[in-house]
C-alpha cells in the first residue's frame, strides 16, 4: 500500500461528488491509501490569488503547513482537482524560490500556530500518481471489463501540464499520458486536438458569451470526431461541460449531447465496479446511452435521451508523404 496525503478540495464534496466516490472505489485495487489533511481549507480557486497574492498564498500555505505537520512518513500531497493542484504547487514553489515570501507566509501561518518549510511537501496531481507511481501496466492488470468500443475523448483541461513549474511534462499542449491511461482501460481513444484547451472556467459567470463559446468548441469537436463521451480530471471542466451544456445549447440553438465523466469513473467501470457505485447516473448530460452501446447498464433516470451518435469521419488518401510524429511513449 502506498500512502499519500490527500487534499480533496471543495468541489469533491459538492458538484464533483462522483469524483470522490469513484476515486474511493478504485483505491484498493490500485494499492493506494489516501490520508485526508485534517481541517484543510479552500485553495482560493482562481480569484483570491489575483486579488491578493499574499493572502491567497497564505490561505494555500495553511494546507501545506497542515500537511507537513500531519506528515507521518509521507510527504507527497495529492490533489485531484487541477486548480487546487496548481495553487498548492505554485505556493510551495514560489516560497522556495523567494525566501522573502516564505518568511511572510510563515509570519501569517504563525498567527495560527502553524509553520511551513517550503519544499517539504511534494505536490502532485492525482493523474500523475496513477500514471507514474501505480503505472499503466498495473492499471491494465486490474481491468476486468475492458471498455472496448467506447470512443473516449482525453480532455485534460488547461492546468495539468501548465504551468510546468517542476518540468515534469515533455508535451504541454498535446500530452499523451492521458491517452495512454484511457487506452490501458481498453477504450478507443479519440485523437482530440483540444486536449488542453480552456473549458471557459468562470467565464460562464463573468462573460457567458465567451464561456459558452469555449464549451461549445469542445463539445462540437468531440462530436465531430465521433466520440461517445469525454473523460476529464478536473471538476471545473466537468461542471462546465456537463452542467452548462443545456444552457450552451439554448444559447446557440444547438442540440449537442456529449456526456463527460471523471476518469476515475471510467477506471472504476473497467475494474468491474457497478456504475451506481461510481456515481454514474448522477451526471446531467446522461452517459447512459453511450455506455449502453458497449453493454454497460446504467440505471434509468427520468430524463429523455438525446441525439444519436454523430457520424465518424473518413480518412483521405495522401498524395505527398507526411512526416511521421514517431511513436514516442512520452508525456
Amino acid at each position: 500500500m502506498s500512502a499519500y496525503l490527500f487534499y480533496p478540495g471543495c468541489s469533491l464534496s459538492g458538484s464533483a461528488k462522483a469524483y470522490a466516490g469513484s476515486l474511493a472505489a478504485i483505491l484498493d485495487p490500485l494499492g493506494i491509501e489516501l490520508r485526508e489533511i485534517e481541517d484543510w481549507n479552500c485553495c482560493g480557486a482562481s480569484e483570491y490569488l489575483t486579488l491578493s497574492p499574499l493572502g491567497g498564498h497564505a490561505l494555500v500555505a495553511r494546507n501545506l503547513a497542515l500537511a507537513q505537520r500531519q506528515g507521518d512518513g509521507t510527504r507527497t500531497l495529492v490533489a485531484p482537482c487541477s486548480l487546487c493542484y496548481v495553487n498548492l504547487a505554485k505556493t510551495d514553489r514560489y516560497a522556495r524560490d523567494d525566501p522573502g515570501l516564505g518568511a511572510r507566509l510563515n509570519d501569517a501561518l504563525g498567527a495560527g500556530g502553524l509553520t511551513y518549510e517550503p519544499g517539504s511537501i511534494a505536490v502532485r496531481h492525482l493523474l500523475e500518481i496513477l500514471v507514474d507511481d501505480v503505472g499503466l501496466e498495473a492499471i491494465a492488470a486490474h481491468v476486468r471489463r475492458p471498455l472496448r468500443g467506447l470512443r473516449v475523448v482525453p480532455y485534460l483541461g488547461c492546468l495539468v501540464t501548465r504551468p510546468d513549474l517542476d518540468r515534469r511534462w515533455t508535451h504541454h499542449e498535446r500530452p499523451r499520458v492521458f491517452d495512454s491511461l484511457l487506452a490501458a482501460l481498453g477504450a478507443e481513444v479519440v485523437d482530440f486536438p483540444l486536449r488542453t484547451a480552456c473549458c471557459g472556467g468562470h467565464m460562464t459567470q463573468i462573460s457567458p458569451d465567451t464561456g459558452f463559446t469555449l464549451i461549445r468548441r469542445l463539445v462540437d469537436a468531440a462530436s465531430r470526431l465521433g466520440a461517445d463521451l469525454m473523460a476529464t480530471v478536473c471538476p471545473m471542466c466537468q461542471m462546465n461541460i456537463d452542467a452548462y451544456q443545456a444552457e450552451m445549447n439554448r444559447h446557440f440553438g444547438s442540440h449537442y449531447h456529449m456526456p463527460i465523466l471523471f476518469f476515475t469513473q471510467l477506471i472504476g467501470l473497467a475494474f468491474g465496479s457497478p456504475p451506481e457505485a461510481l456515481g454514474i447516473g448522477t451526471e446531467i448530460v446522461s452517459a447512459r446511452a453511450a455506455l449502453g452501446r458497449i453493454g454497460i447498464e446504467v440505471p434509468a433516470p427520468a430524463e429523455p435521451e438525446a441525439a444519436a451518435a454523430p457520424a465518424r469521419r473518413a480518412k483521405k488518401p495522401a498524395g505527398l508523404p507526411m512526416p511521421s510524429l514517431g511513436d514516442e511513449d512520452d508525456r
Binding site: T213, R217, D220, S254, G319, P321, P323
Partner: protein, 688 residues
C-alpha cells in the same frame, strides 16, 4: 645591485589615465617604494604606445642596462605585443616585459582619484614583483604541413577548398552525404536576386570535383583528429557505397531500374522519393550513386540484385566494406553547416498532424522545378493548388521554449516563399511576422517588392494552427486550416482560414556539433554554434590554433557570408602555409621529472591530450599540444609541474605586489599598517 634592473613606465594615455590617476605620483612612488625591489628608473609619458614612448623604453634598456620592463597603461589585450616588440628591438627578451592595466581596470572604472592612484600603485607593484620572476622565453616554432582538411561540403566548405586548391595546395574535402552541395543544393531560388541555387552552385561543385588539388571524401565521416596545428593526423571513414567508383561511369541505369522506392528524408525533405540505390540529385558530385542497405531488397531478403545485373561495367559490389584512411594536414576548416529546426516540436502549429502544414525546406523542394512536384505548388494530396497560403515566421527561433536566437535568413526566405507562391499560383499570401529583418544589399528593396505584389503582411506571432471551429458556421473556416494570430498593428485577434501553411523553421547546429567540437578541440556556445576566437575581429578562427570555421557552423548566416567565411579561412591558412612555420606563445606547462611521483592526477585533467604517462619516466607534457590553461599546474600535489608565462612564483609575487604595504588602507597611512593592532597577535613564522 645584483638583482634584476626594472624600468617602470606610467602612461597618461592622454587624459584617459592621467585624468583620474596621478601618474606623476605613481611614477615617484614606484621609484621610491619599489627601488629596493629593483626599480632603477620610473618615467611617465603621455602615450607610451607611440613610437616616442617605445623609444623611451628602448633607450633605457640600452643605456641603463634594464633587464625587466613594466609598463602601466592599457589592457595587455591591446598593447602587450607592442611593448614586447619594443623590448625585442632593444635586445631584451620580449617575455621579460609586463604590461599592467591601469586604464580599463583603474582610471576608466573608478572616480575616487586617491583610491585610483593607490590602486594604480598596487597594480604597478604587482607588475614589478611579478616581472622579477619572469625568465626569458622563446616562442615555440612548429612547421606547417601544406595540406588542409575541410569538413563539410556545403557552399562554405567548397569556397574554402577552392581558394586553397587554386593557390596550389592540397585539400581533403570530407562530406557526410553522398554528394557535396549542402543545403544550398536543395533550394529553388536564392534571395534577393532570385538566382537559381543549383545554377550558381553546380559549377563550383564541378570545379571542386574536378580540381587536381582537391580530394573528395563523400559519404564519409571524420572519425578522429590528433596532433596540433601544422601537423594534424586525421582518420576519415569512407562508408561503403556498394559501388566500385573505379568502375562506375555514372550512367544511372541502376537507379532507374531499382524497384525499391522510399521516402527521401534528406534531400527531398521528406516530400519526395528516391530509390534504394540513388544519387541525391542529378547534378551530384561525385557522380557515383550510393546504395542504402536499409532499403535494399537484396540486403533485406537476398533477392533482386537488379542493379548488379544491369550495370554495364559491373560496378556494384555488395561485399564492399567501410574503409578508413588517415591524412596528414596542417590546418582544418570546419564547415558543417546547419540542420533545420524540427517543426514537430512546436505542437501548436500542427506540423505532422495537419497534412497541409509544410516547412520552408519542403516548400523549396516543391517549388524547385526538379523537385517531386515538378515545380508545382500543391497541397499534400499532390494535386490541389492552394487558394491561400500563410507563411509563419520564427518557428523555433526567438523563442525561449526552443532557441532564443534569431536565425538571420528566415525573413528573407519567407518573403522569397511569398514571391514564389505568387509566381506559381493565384493564391492569396499572408506573412505572419514578428519583425522584418532585411538588412543586406537589395534585401529591403525585395521586401518592398513583395509588398507591392500584394502579399498581406500581418505583424503577430502565430498562436495556433488549427482546424477546430470556434463557432458554428464560421464563414469560410470549415475544412480549412485556421491561423490564430494577434494582429498587433490592428490591435485585434484574427482567425485566418487558409489552405496551406508554410513554417519558416529556424536553423540549428548539426546534432553532433558538440562531439565534432570535442574531436577538434574547440568549443561550442550554449546554443551549439562554434565559438570564434573573437566575435568581431577574428570571426573565422577558433580558440584552437589551426582549426578554423566557416559558414553556418558558426551561426546562422546567408550564402554570401558563408562564402566570405570560407575564403577568409582559406586566406588565413594560406598565410600560414606560406610562412612555413608558426610561432606559438610559450605559455606551456612542463613537468620536472625529479619531482614527479607518478601519481597521475594531472593525466586526466588535460582536455587536449597533452599529458602522457610512461612507467619509469613519469608524466610528460607535449608542448605543442599544451594550450597553457594551467589546470595541471594547480593540481599537482608535488608542485612538479610548472608553467612558463604564468608560473607559481610569478603569480604569488603579483599577489604580494597587489597588496603592497601603503596601498591597502589608504587613509590610515603607513604606520598603522606597520604597527598592526593591539588585538591581533604577532604574525607567526610560517615555513616558506
Amino acid at each position: 645591485m645584483t638583482g634584476p634592473r626594472v624600468g617602470v613606465y606610467v602612461c597618461h594615455c592622454g587624459t584617459n589615465i592621467a585624468g583620474v590617476v596621478d601618474v606623476a605620483a605613481v611614477r615617484d612612488w614606484a621609484l621610491e617604494r619599489l627601488g629596493p625591489h629593483g626599480v632603477v628608473v620610473a618615467r611617465d609619458y603621455p602615450f607610451m604606445c607611440s613610437s616616442l614612448g617605445q623609444e623611451l623604453i628602448e633607450k633605457d634598456i640600452a643605456e641603463l642596462g634594464l633587464d625587466r620592463v613594466v609598463v602601466a597603461a592599457c589592457s595587455p589585450h591591446m598593447h602587450e605585443r607592442t611593448f614586447r616588440g619594443a623590448c625585442g628591438r632593444a635586445g631584451l627578451n620580449p617575455y621579460l616585459c609586463e604590461l599592467v592595466s591601469i586604464r580599463e581596470q583603474v582610471s576608466w572604472v573608478h572616480t575616487d582619484r586617491d583610491a585610483a592612484t593607490r590602486k594604480a600603485e598596487a597594480v604597478v607593484a604587482g607588475g614589478v614583483l611579478r616581472v622579477r620572476e619572469q625568465v626569458p622565453l622563446e616562442p615555440l616554432r612548429v612547421p606547417i604541413a601544406p595540406a588542409t582538411l575541410v569538413i563539410g561540403g556545403g557552399i562554405a566548405g567548397i569556397s574554402a577548398a577552392l581558394e586553397l586548391a587554386d593557390a596550389g595546395y592540397p585539400v581533403h574535402l570530407v562530406e557526410r552525404q553522398p554528394s557535396i552541395g549542402g543545403h544550398m543544393a536543395q533550394f529553388d531560388k536564392t534571395f534577393p536576386t532570385l538566382d537559381c541555387a543549383a545554377c550558381i552552385l553546380t559549377p563550383r561543385m564541378v570545379d571542386a570535383g574536378m580540381h587536381p588539388n582537391i580530394t573528395l571524401h563523400t559519404w564519409s565521416e571524420v572519425v578522429d583528429v590528433s596532433g596540433h596545428v601544422g601537423a594534424f593526423s586525421v582518420r576519415i571513414l569512407h562508408r561503403p557505397r556498394y559501388v566500385d567508383t573505379d568502375l562506375c561511369t555514372g550512367c544511372g541505369i541502376c537507379e532507374e531500374k531499382c524497384p525499391a522506392k522510399v521516402v527521401d528524408p534528406v534531400f527531398e525533405s521528406g516530400i519526395g522519393y528516391r530509390k534504394g540505390i540513388y544519387r541525391p540529385f542529378p547534378q551530384a558530385v561525385p557522380k557515383y550513386p550510393v546504395l542504402d542497405p536499409e532499403h535494399c531488397i537484396y540486403f533485406e531478403r537476398g533477392t533482386c540484385r537488379a542493379c548488379e545485373k544491369l550495370c554495364p561495367t559491373g560496378a556494384i559490389d555488395f561485399e564492399q566494406q567501410p574503409e578508413e584512411v588517415t591524412v596528414e594536414v596542417g590546418n582544418i576548416v570546419l564547415a558543417t553547416g546547419f540542420e533545420p529546426f524540427d517543426a514537430r516540436r512546436v505542437e501548436a502549429y500542427g506540423y505532422g498532424r495537419y497534412p497541409n502544414v509544410f516547412t520552408s525546406l519542403e516548400f523549396e523542394r516543391m517549388s524547385n522545378a526538379a523537385g517531386p512536384t515538378g515545380g508545382r505548388i500543391v497541397l499534400r494530396d499532390g494535386q490541389t493548388e492552394p487558394r491561400s497560403v500563410a507563411i509563419v515566421h520564427c518557428v523555433g527561433s526567438r523563442d525561449r521554449n526552443f532557441n532564443p536566437y534569431c536565425s538571420a535568413i528566415c525573413c528573407m526566405q519567407s518573403l522569397k516563399v511569398a514571391h514564389l507562391v505568387r509566381e506559381h499560383t493565384e493564391a492569396t499570401v499572408y506573412e505572419l511576422y514578428i519583425d522584418m529583418r532585411t538588412p543586406g544589399k537589395g534585401f529591403d528593396e525585395f521586401y518592398q517588392r513583395v509588398q507591392d505584389e500584394g502579399t498581406h503582411l500581418i505583424r503577430g506571432r502565430v498562436a495556433e494552427i488549427t482546424d477546430v471551429l470556434r463557432l458554428p458556421d464560421e464563414a469560410g473556416e470549415d475544412g480549412r486550416l485556421i491561423v490564430q494570430v494577434e494582429d498587433t498593428l490592428a490591435g485585434r485577434q484574427r482567425r485566418i482560414p487558409v489552405d496551406m501553411v508554410v513554417l519558416s523553421v529556424g536553423l540549428e547546429p548539426p546534432s553532433d556539433a558538440r562531439e565534432m567540437a570535442r574531436r577538434l578541440g574547440i568549443t561550442c556556445s550554449s546554443d551549439g554554434w562554434v565559438i570564434e576566437r573573437h566575435p568581431k575581429l577574428d570571426p573565422v578562427a577558433t580558440m584552437t590554433d589551426g582549426v578554423f570555421a566557416a559558414g553556418c557552423a558558426l551561426g546562422p548566416r546567408d550564402i554570401p557570408s558563408s562564402v566570405a567565411n570560407g575564403a577568409a579561412a582559406a586566406a588565413r591558412i594560406l598565410g600560414r602555409i606560406s610562412q612555413g612555420e608558426l610561432a606559438l606563445e610559450p605559455i606551456r606547462a612542463s613537468v620536472d621529472e625529479a619531482r614527479c611521483s607518478g601519481c597521475r592526477i594531472c593525466n586526466d585533467l588535460c582536455p587536449f591530450g597533452a599529458i602522457s604517462f610512461e612507467r619509469g619516466r613519469g608524466t610528460e607534457v607535449d608542448p605543442a599540444l599544451c594550450q597553457g590553461c594551467g589546470v595541471c599546474i594547480a593540481a599537482c600535489p608535488a608542485g612538479a609541474i610548472s608553467g612558463t608565462g604564468f608560473s607559481d612564483a610569478q603569480i604569488l609575487a603579483q599577489i604580494e605586489g597587489l597588496l603592497f604595504p601603503g596601498t591597502i588602507h589608504p587613509e590610515a597611512g603607513l604606520d598603522a599598517v606597520v604597527a598592526g593592532s593591539a588585538t591581533t597577535p604577532e604574525p607567526e613564522a610560517v615555513p616558506a
